[in-house]
Amino acid sequence: MNTLKYRLLEDIAIADACYELHGSNVEEIFQAGFLALMETSVELNTVKEVLIKNVLLQHKDLERLFYEFLEELIYLKDAELLIFKNCKLSVTKDDITDTFKLDAILSGQEFNKSVSTLTDVKAITYYQFYIKQIDDGWESRITFDL
């Protein structure tokens, strides 16, 4: 987790939150996105790891897969009242079907009074949204509607 990097781009989307993510591989980008979303929503040190949720997604487009992963986290917040502290995941490419596959194990809890909440994330937007490989790793930009 210490190698994961994200930083808030303050002057972009002042009513919301735009983050730049960095990682040495694509999994680290997905994990950085997970962390950015969770740390925007709650004080993560108040979240306990008492349940596990497995998220399996696939898409031919890596960018769309990342978008759908973040959207799934937002969906679980509202539909199942879940918030997560940790995420172990793999992103693999099936060369036969030309499809990217995500297998994420999320650990966290249902919301209760002991979770210190910050800001509700309504949606992941397409604003300046990208994920791409660069010289020394991977980079992404994500913007949450708050």
């Binding site: 002042i14 917040k77 910050l118 509700d120």
Partner: protein
């Protein structure tokens, strides 16, 4: 030359960027605001509203309201109407929080009666109305019942005991868009929304106890139930919650996947995805958007019902005795089928209001009979420190802005800068010292909503009053507030 530099000052409260076919603009852009407002508008506003003028079927001109700022697709404060045969519908012209809106409730209480009880009143509202993330609504409903909520809006609420019969007439579209069809909504959106009926949400959403500070038009104020200075009113600001957010995301993505290949509509910005209104996809979005709008009306109706009950407990009187009438409920993120006279002919259009409020003038068929002589109430929410305004709709708005006006003050500072400038608990203490008692689910969230993070609402109100898009009726100042 930057787009902003192309704007010509038409009068004290309006600028215009002329149509420029070299830029792909099919129509001019009108920018409402006095010079103080105009000078501070960010360049994203101009780029985004210019993009809107490139979409097919735009009628007349696109415009921005004085509270405009950069958004997704349309700017916040963006208004545009499209021909129902040849035009498009765009989720970016409505927003993620479909039917985010405002509701104002009067009482016959005065500040002298309420101030001594403001703490128990606010604390009880905070306990009774779920606010913030991860909160379940107070009403457990089945999926069948949720379908009724989504298709009939406030009607479902009244039928199930959440409100008075008279409440229905005092809402845009009587609290129900009839085009709603639950089958056009994804399972994901249904799952996100089913537990959230009667929840406030977070961010800039709130339920606020206010006092009438100044009355500008006593005749109109009286019609709306505002009788005296120091009268207590209650304002609610919230929307369709995860239900609307998911519907917006679902259709934004569907249109994005098809707009270039199927309909040959260029993508100027991904958030400005659009579909022809008379396509199957466009029709489905109208139906789903209408479901979300109905959830917004129903949500505010249930919350109002709880507000009345809390007042009853604290003041030991019935809400009827306290004359807790609904003044009006307005939507400020929505698209509506409306009819206007364009070049001497009646034309049906789809008006998109993204962070903009309807502002229908007197004698409009679509406003309650009680307001037909004066025009509809327009409710503008300010920050929790600076206060809000009640205004009235005008004939000028009907003729010039597709019956539209501003919605609030608009952000001027990022959330993170606001949090660095002040801590939530310090802000809360400062507000208490000024006589405003606040309960918030998140101190960080509270700091983000500090008054200094927003534009000066007086500039916004002076601009829309000056442009005669709506006229000032009363200024309302906060006394107590609950937020997520």
């Amino acid at each position: 030359m930057l787009l902003k530099e192309k704007a010509i000052r038409i009068n004290e409260f309006m600028y215009e960027i002329p149509q420029d076919s070299d830029l792909g603009m099919q129509a001019p852009v009108r920018v409402y605001g006095n010079s103080a407002i105009f000078n501070k508008l960010d360049k994203g506003v101009f780029q985004q509203i210019t993009n809107v003028t490139k979409l097919p079927g735009l009628v007349d001109h696109a415009m921005t309201m004085p509270d405009a700022h950069w958004g997704y697709g349309f700017p916040i404060g963006g208004v545009a109407a499209f021909d129902i045969e040849e035009g498009v519908i765009s989720p970016g012209g409505i927003g993620f929080d479909i039917n985010c809106g405002m509701r104002l409730i009067t009482t016959n209480l005065t500040v002298d009666e309420v101030k001594p009880k403001i703490r128990p009143l606010v604390n009880t509202l905070y306990e009774d109305i779920p606010t913030g993330i991860g909160k379940k609504g107070p009403i457990k409903i089945s999926m069948n019942e949720f379908q009724n909520v989504a298709e009939t809006g406030s009607e479902w609420c009244i039928e199930n005991g959440y409100g008075w019969d008279e409440d229905i007439e005092r809402q845009e579209n009587n609290g129900r868009l009839v085009e709603a069809d639950f089958s056009s909504v994804s399972d994901k959106a249904k799952s996100r929304g089913i537990r959230q009926l009667g929840t406030l949400g977070s961010g800039n959403h709130y339920c606020e106890i206010q006092t009438v500070n100044q009355i500008f038009d006593s005749d109109v104020a009286k019609v709306m139930g505002i009788e005296n200075k120091d009268q207590i009113v209650v304002m609610v600001h919230c929307g369709s919650r995860g239900f609307g957010h998911q519907i917006a995301s679902d259709y934004l993505r569907e249109f994005l996947d098809k707009m270039e290949t199927k309909w040959k509509i260029p993508i100027y910005e991904k958030e400005l995805s659009a579909a022809p209104i008379n396509s199957k996809e466009g029709e489905n979005y109208m139906k789903a958007m209408s479901c979300a709008a109905n959830m917004g009306f129903a949500n505010r109706q249930v919350i109002m019902s709880h507000v009345r009950k809390v007042f009853e407990r604290i003041f030991d009187r019935s809400s009827e005795e306290m004359e807790m009438h609904l003044v009006y409920d307005v939507a400020h993120n929505i698209a509506k089928r409306e009819e206007y006279e364009i070049e001497g002919q009646k034309k049906e259009v789809i008006v998109h209001r993204k962070g903009a409020t309807r502002s229908f003038g007197p004698n409009s068929n679509e406003i309650p009979s009680i307001y037909s002589k004066v025009g509809q109430p327009v409710i503008l929410g300010g920050s929790m420190e600076t206060g809000s305004y009640l205004l009235v709709g005008t004939d000028t708005a009907m003729k010039q802005s597709f019956g539209s006006t501003a919605h609030g003050s608009g952000r001027a500072m990022s959330r993170s800068k606001a949090k660095r400038k002040i801590q939530g608990n310090v802000l809360r203490s400062q507000m208490e010292a000024k006589g405003i008692y606040v309960r918030a689910a998140s101190m960080a969230g509270l700091a983000e909503e500090a008054g200094f993070a927003y534009k000066n609402i007086n500039d916004v109100v002076d601009s829309i009053h000056g442009a005669d898009l709506s006229r000032k009726v009363a200024q309302l100042l906060p006394l107590g507030n609950i937020k997520g």
